[in-house]
């Protein structure tokens, strides 16, 4: 990891590096991590899709929730179930399941997010009848009180279903504990992002995404411990003045550290992101009082919405422009998974607003399977060069 920590002082570097190494080992082999967690603790592990799944309920039941985020291997078995015009997150995830890569999971749960995840849930239920599966049908409209009542009731239904399935009680006390644990984790991640905005050369963009990715593989308390250790070390890194080009990442699920790594090679730094595998997954914490299930519902409805959700008041264009301004960024790299309708529909107006705001941006289409990055490299190189010229004259 030395290459990814170019500016840190020797002393801190060692500790930070050991944490980051541990994290990258987990994120490079998430299934292995979950298997060993099960062996170590004797607990159950559940796979879940999308950051909209109310994980707190699983956590309160003692379960390790592991986000299923596609697979790096090329699709073979899923071709018999899923057309080529469906996103690779859906295709590779189902493919991995059909290849029995998820046999260690004790259940797989889905939130309602988009058309494709919705139908995947049904295909999954049919093809893995022996596996415990359940869908929490979240509302699409997030900012009306009716949705909060509905979701509170829907999460309660899921909780009861889990209690019955696991033959245990998920008490309000346990839910409260889990909410605390999740809030602590989200706060730690937000601290990491704040630190990075302030001193982006302290940690690479790739490492930050790795840290967030690890939060989706681990029990949150274990993850928080790691993030806090990392933060302690990073806070000691002196702020380096640099002329590096500052970039904001926008998009959906990006699990390609290699793309992000390209920036460092080109003398650019990532200063913030609005990604589903980044800040959108953890920003906004549960309100501090009220009935636990309702608090959970409120958090998922009030978080920065995924484009698959409908909101009256949230203006993604303004949100992204504000993020660029607040992080003092020079440009936006939009990483969009091919065949993702919700993002593709937002893109034209978002791109237009960035242009009107004089913020350079570039669109990179991605797939879950690692593709050749050579073409991306050339385009990004030209983009970064343009930003450098604009910045330094």
């Amino acid at each position: 990891m030395i290459s990814s920590m170019p500016h840190t002082q020797e002393g801190e570097r060692a500790v930070a590096e050991s944490v980051l190494k541990e994290i990258s080992q987990i994120t490079s082999k998430p299934y292995e991590y979950a298997r060993s967690w099960k062996r170590r603790t004797g607990g159950k592990a559940f796979g879940y899709f999308c950051t909209y799944f109310p994980e707190e309920v699983l956590h309160a039941a003692g379960i390790l929730p592991m986000r299923i985020l596609g697979d790096k291997e090329n699709v073979s078995l899923a071709d018999a179930h899923v057309q080529a015009f469906i996103c690779s997150l859906v295709r590779t995830s189902l493919d991995a399941a059909l290849k029995k890569k998820f046999d260690f999971l004790d259940g797989v749960v889905f939130p309602h997010t988009c058309d494709s995840i919705q139908n995947l849930a049904d295909i999954w239920r049919r093809n893995f009848p022996g596996q415990f599966t359940e869908v929490v049908v979240l509302p699409v409209w997030v900012d009306i009180p009716e949705a909060e009542d509905y979701l509170t009731e829907e999460i309660s239904r899921f909780r009861q279903k889990m209690e019955k399935h696991l033959n245990l009680r998920i008490s309000d006390e346990a839910l409260k504990q889990s909410i605390e644990t999740y809030n602590a984790n989200r706060t730690a991640l937000a601290d990491l992002y704040a630190l990075r905005r302030d001193n982006p050369s302290a940690i690479t963009g790739q490492s930050v995404l790795d840290v967030v990715r690890a939060s989706m593989c681990m029990r949150k308390e274990d993850h928080t411990t790691l993030v806090k250790r990392l933060l302690d070390e990073l806070r000691a890194v002196p702020r380096a003045d640099s002329n590096d080009v500052r970039i904001v990442l926008y998009g959906n699920a990006c699990d390609h550290p290699a793309i992000v790594h390209l920036f460092e090679e080109m003398g650019a730094v990532v200063v913030d992101d609005d990604l589903c595998t980044g800040s959108r997954s953890f920003l906004h914490i549960e309100p501090s009082d009220g009935v636990p299930v309702r608090r959970i519902a409120q958090r998922y409805l009030r978080r920065v919405p995924c484009p698959s959700k409908h909101s009256n008041d949230f203006d993604r264009r303004r949100y992204l422009v504000d993020m660029v301004r607040q992080s003092n960024a020079d440009g936006v790299v939009m990483l969009l998974l091919k065949f993702c309708d919700p993002h593709a529909f937002d893109y034209p107006d978002l791109a237009k607003r960035l242009s009107e705001s004089n913020i350079p941006h570039i669109l990179i289409e991605t797939e879950m399977q690692p593709a050749s990055i050579e073409q991306v490299r050339t385009r990004l190189q030209a983009f970064v060069e343009m930003l450098k010229e604009k910045k330094n004259g």
Binding site: I123, N127, D341, F345
Partner: protein, 409 residues
């Protein structure tokens, strides 16, 4: 050998007149002091009719653009604005038309507001959000949670509460009061038309069938766009009488009807006529389709109209699980004596298409009915590979074994 042609369904020209009059009325709505709302195919149009708002259907309009082979041209305009070629071709078509005024009817009249219900797909939410930004008009939105198993009381309550919210929002937009009695009336008309449409489709169970689903794709336009208007009830009574007469006289939609097929997913609008011709030659009747049946499956009741429309729109078949849809297909197979299913794997419609491979297996397991998947698109002819698609369909039909003695052959 010359292909024997059936006599035309006379009501088709009446449907065309109704649609022309409707579009003319829509175009003149603003001049006549009437507000116009754009509404999606799964939208609760009864609310608009009850409040005397002119409903305009971009989906119907896009289908018309597709049938006139303007799909690709209009899609390219939207693509030039940054809309991905992978997005729904209805949406791209209408956006292309909205910004240029191009279409067979020179574009749709501008909306005063939008009404969108997500019971058809999540895509439509995004499309209507984009329209709201494009026209800078309010969006009245109704979220009907997807039904993986059964409709829950919780989801029903949520939908009903949103209908009341939508009514309030429209009252304030329009400056008029909503009358529940008026809605009862409208829902009663809609229920009558819906039942008639169901009766008409059920006549295709007859062997030979007096009508094909391809005729249905054209004849459904009034039930889609003018549901809740009394004229529509008259129109469908007329159509029903004509089909009854055809049955009495033994007139087949496909003379010498040999095979009976169920079509899943939307039509391929720009190839509708060519495919009809091909099926006529193959003596193959598309006797049923999930798409036309969709508008017959609303169970409406004028007595408790809010409850009725909340249930009906929540339970739209496309808002239900693959298991539910497989059973729907199985019933159609049995009721319509279907020999085989053509699944149109529609690049433009992910929720309708994703799961078809599994449904294909389910239908074989449950009803021993063979099926084939063909890749196409409802409106974007650039993605259509005509040769391979036709070869695939013909090869499939050759393998079929009709389950019954052949009628008029």
């Amino acid at each position: 050998m010359e292909t024997q042609r059936p006599p035309k369904i006379q009501a088709t020209s009446r449907a065309k007149d109704i649609m022309s009059a409707y579009y003319l009325e829509a175009k003149n709505a603003a001049e006549n002091g009437r507000k116009t709302a754009w509404v999606n195919g799964g939208g609760l149009v009864e609310l608009l009719v009850a409040m005397d708002v002119m409903p305009v259907y971009p989906e119907n309009h896009a289908a018309m653009c597709g049938a006139y082979k303007m799909g690709a041209e209009l899609c390219e305009i939207a693509e030039g604005m940054g809309y991905s070629r992978d997005l729904c071709s209805y949406a791209r078509c209408d956006i292309g038309s909205a910004v240029t005024g191009k279409s067979p009817i020179m574009g749709l009249p501008k909306p005063d507001f939008l009404l969108c219900c997500n019971n058809t797909c999540g895509m439509v939410t995004k499309w209507y959000e984009a329209l709201a930004r494009l026209f800078n008009v309010p969006l009245v939105y109704i979220d009907t949670p997807f039904i993986h198993d059964d409709l829950t009381e919780n989801a029903l309550t949520y939908t009903k509460r949103q209908i009341f919210r939508a009514i309030e929002q429209m009252e304030s937009l329009l400056g008029t009061r909503f009358e529940m009695d008026r809605l009862c009336e409208v829902v009663t008309h809609a229920a009558k038309a819906t039942r008639l449409w169901g009766d008409i489709l059920a006549m295709c169970q007859h062997i030979p069938s007096p009508m094909t689903a391809f005729d249905g794709f054209i004849l459904m336009a009034p039930i889609v766009t003018l549901r809740g208007m009394p004229e529509i009830v008259d129109f469908y009574e007329l159509l029903k009488a004509e089909l009854e007469e055809r049955m009495t006289q033994g007139i087949a939609a496909i003379p010498g009807e040999r095979y009976r097929i169920l079509w899943d997913n939307l039509p391929v609008w720009f190839k509708l006529r060519d495919l009809s011709e091909r099926f006529l030659k193959l003596k193959t009747c598309i006797a049923a389709s999930t798409y036309v049946s969709g508008w017959a499956s609303y169970e409406l009741d004028g007595k408790e109209p809010i409850d009725a429309i909340a249930r009906a729109y929540s339970c739209a078949f496309i808002n239900r699980s693959i298991e539910y849809r497989a059973e729907m297909l199985r019933h159609l197979v049995e009721d319509y004596s279907i020999d085989g299913i053509i699944f149109h794997s529609n690049r433009s419609c992910r929720p309708y298409s994703l799961g078809q491979y599994d449904m294909k297996e389910m239908l074989w397991e449950r009803a021993r009915v063979p099926s084939v998947l063909v890749e196409a698109d409802m409106n974007d002819e650039r993605t259509f590979a005509e040769g391979p698609v036709l070869t695939r369909i013909e090869a499939f039909i050759e393998t079929l074994e009709p389950k019954r003695a052949v009628g008029a052959a």
